[in-house]
């Protein structure tokens, strides 16, 4: 399963990269979303999967799943949420100010700086 999950994370990365290389800002942001999903899955996989009960002691199980990656992922999820939110708003403002979401038109030229 872990091997499979590694591959899935890889696929998510690939899809994310593909999206980020496109021209549309929205697709790029969606790409970053996918990227963070891939990251989190990969991180979870690295802790080992399904080796025990959920890490809540009330379960009284013999073994528990590694709680550390879960805590890390939780932190990472929240942080990437913050980033995504800011990114979205910047995209929105950029569209307001610059009138496009095409990255080619957002390249910036020497003349105007």
């Amino acid at each position: 399963m872990e091997i499979l999950m590694c591959i899935v994370a890889g696929l998510l990365f690939a899809a994310a990269v593909y999206l980020m290389l496109s021209k549309s800002l929205l697709r790029i942001i969606v790409g970053t979303g996918l990227l963070s999903h891939g990251t989190h899955l990969m991180l979870l996989t690295m802790g080992g999967l399904k080796t025990g009960a959920a890490p809540v002691l009330g379960e009284h199980a013999a073994s528990y799943t590694d709680p550390v990656p879960q805590a890390l992922i939780l932190t990472a999820i929240v942080i990437s949420f913050g980033v995504t939110a800011l990114f979205l708003v910047i995209a929105y403002r950029a569209y307001q100010e610059l009138g496009t979401d095409n990255m080619d038109q957002l390249k910036g030229t020497e003349a105007d700086d």
Binding site: S36, M42, L43, T45, L72, V83, F87, I90, R93, E97
Partner: protein, 493 residues
């Protein structure tokens, strides 16, 4: 006071919170900012004295023993960098009073600067690899906001690129931490180091080393990863640029330095040679960029990249001498870059443009500014006895003694390119007869100039007083060269 290492992180945090509460009054914000930044500096100084006398200071967060909780580790390296960063922030805050503008001041400029400082200081201090990521993120998040605050067109446009690149690097960072956790089963840096040294022959460690190099290289702007930097850094106003230029890339360099001396020193023929190659390419790329532009900001920005290359070369050489040189140069570069960006900001303010071809003749009205700028330029180029010299000297010497002849000569020549670019800038801005005569009215630059001048003075003192700094740096080098010291201090075995 066992919590001393926390203070340089805690004070900015508390300050930021207080600033949020008083966000309505610009005056109160200024006062609080200055007090907070100054007390950060003071706490860093106290901590440094403590580290000097008692060795590495650690605090186990929440009293949880070392590999399990998060441990803050103030070794000499970290506290030196923390001190430098705090001083720079203080100067930048002072500079901002007159330059950043009322709008930004009301919209949380000061608290975000404090958050940035908190992130930077935290990155320098933490002894936990994932915590490093968190501090990176707070630093980056602050920088995202700082780069875009004000929402001018260019800021919006460039911040998109900046954020995108950093999002990618953060993602890679997280998976890299995950891989490392999978292999070593720990997050505490000292613990990881101890465990890696047991399995140093595993090829996966080398792969991870390269992965971390990419992660930190994206932040530190090394050769094929720096492309985002020049455009993005050109967007925000001068004080923010000064913070970025002097702190952000250096955090990346710090992280490389830390990981490559603590974790990844086992396969040096591969990793360090690779790094050395990248370092030289970085220098070349930086030089090319610095020569290419006739724009104050761009020239200075490309100089960041050159410095990054030099530092990386120092790390790659990886002898006691070269690491010492790297540290000297790192601190120098932080101070002098901040100074130069602030001075550059004043120049742009006076001239109303950052385009060199459109300015000139400033020396007649602003002699002090001109000479200070020239002095800073020389310091940047590493002219003795100014601050850049010692570092470069040691790096080059170590390079020669390790047989890196080409690299050392490239580093030396980079000084020439640096000198050319900044002196050219100086001549264009200050000496050249302007196309349109300057207005007779002199703009008030006093309150802008003083913080910048303080930094330049600091850089001069740092250069001349190398001997005074030397024991501190060598203590830091000692820890870096002998990871056991670090491990023992953290794990208390």
């Amino acid at each position: 006071m066992i919590n001393l290492p926390v203070l340089p992180i805690l004070i900015p945090l508390i300050a930021a919170i207080v600033l949020l509460f008083v966000s309505k009054s610009v005056l109160a914000q200024r006062v609080v900012s200055v007090i907070a930044s100054a007390s950060t500096v003071v706490s860093a100084l106290i901590l440094m004295a403590k580290v000097k006398s008692d060795g590495i200071q650690t605090v186990d967060m929440g009293s949880w023993p070392a590999p399990f909780g998060i441990t803050l580790v103030s070794d000499m390296l970290s506290i030196l960098l923390v001190l430098t960063a705090s001083i720079i922030t203080l100067c930048v805050v002072l500079y901002s009073f007159r330059s950043i503008g009322n709008g930004r001041e009301r919209f949380y400029y000061y608290p975000i600067v404090q958050f940035l400082l908190l992130g930077v200081n935290g990155s320098f201090t933490t002894g936990d690899i994932f915590n490093l990521f968190v501090f990176f993120e707070i630093m980056l998040m602050s920088s995202y906001v700082l780069i875009v605050i004000g929402s001018t067109k260019i800021q919006l446009r460039e911040s998109i690129k900046y954020i995108l690149v950093n999002v990618i690097s953060s993602a890679i960072f997280v998976i890299a931490v995950g891989f490392l956790y999978s292999v070593t089963g720990s997050l505490n840096m000292a613990h990881i180091s101890a465990r890696i040294s047991e399995i140093s022959t595993e090829p996966i460690i080398t792969v991870l080393a390269v992965l971390f190099l990419i992660v930190f290289g994206l932040k530190g702007a090394i050769f094929p990863l720096y492309f985002w930097l020049p455009g993005s850094y050109a967007a925000p106003p001068a004080p923010i640029l000064a913070l970025f230029g002097s702190l952000l890339t250096k955090v990346g360099i710090y992280a490389i330095l830390r990981t490559y001396t603590l974790f990844f020193y086992h396969d040096q023929p591969f990793t360090h040679d690779l790094m050395s190659l990248l370092a030289l390419l970085t220098i070349v790329a930086g030089v090319i960029g610095a020569l290419a532009y006739r724009d104050v900001k761009q020239i200075l920005i490309y100089n960041i990249i050159i410095a990054v290359g030099v530092l990386l070369f120092g790390i790659a050489t990886m002898t006691e001498e070269s690491i010492a040189g790297t540290l000297f140069y790192l601190i120098h570069d932080m101070i002098v870059k901040a100074a130069l960006f602030l001075l550059g900001g004043i120049i742009i303010y006076i001239a109303g443009t950052s385009n060199l071809t459109k300015m000139g003749g400033l020396i007649r009205q602003y002699p002090a500014l001109g000479w200070t700028f020239l002095l800073a330029s020389f310091a940047l180029a590493g002219i003795p006895p100014l601050s850049g010299f010692t570092g470069k000297l040691l790096i080059v010497r170590a390079g020669f003694s390790e047989g890196e002849y080409v690299g050392s000569i490239v580093v030396l020549l980079s000084s020439l390119a640096v000198l050319y670019s900044v002196v050219n800038l100086f001549m264009e801005a200050f000496w050249k007869t302007p196309e349109t005569p300057l207005p007779d009215v002199k703009k008030q630059t006093g309150s802008l100039f003083i913080p910048a001048a303080v930094l330049v003075l600091l850089s001069v003192l740092y250069g001349v007083g190398t001997e005074a700094v030397y024991p501190y740096v060598m203590q830091a080098v000692d820890t870096l060269i002998h990871p056991e010291i670090y491990i023992d201090a953290v794990l208390k075995e």
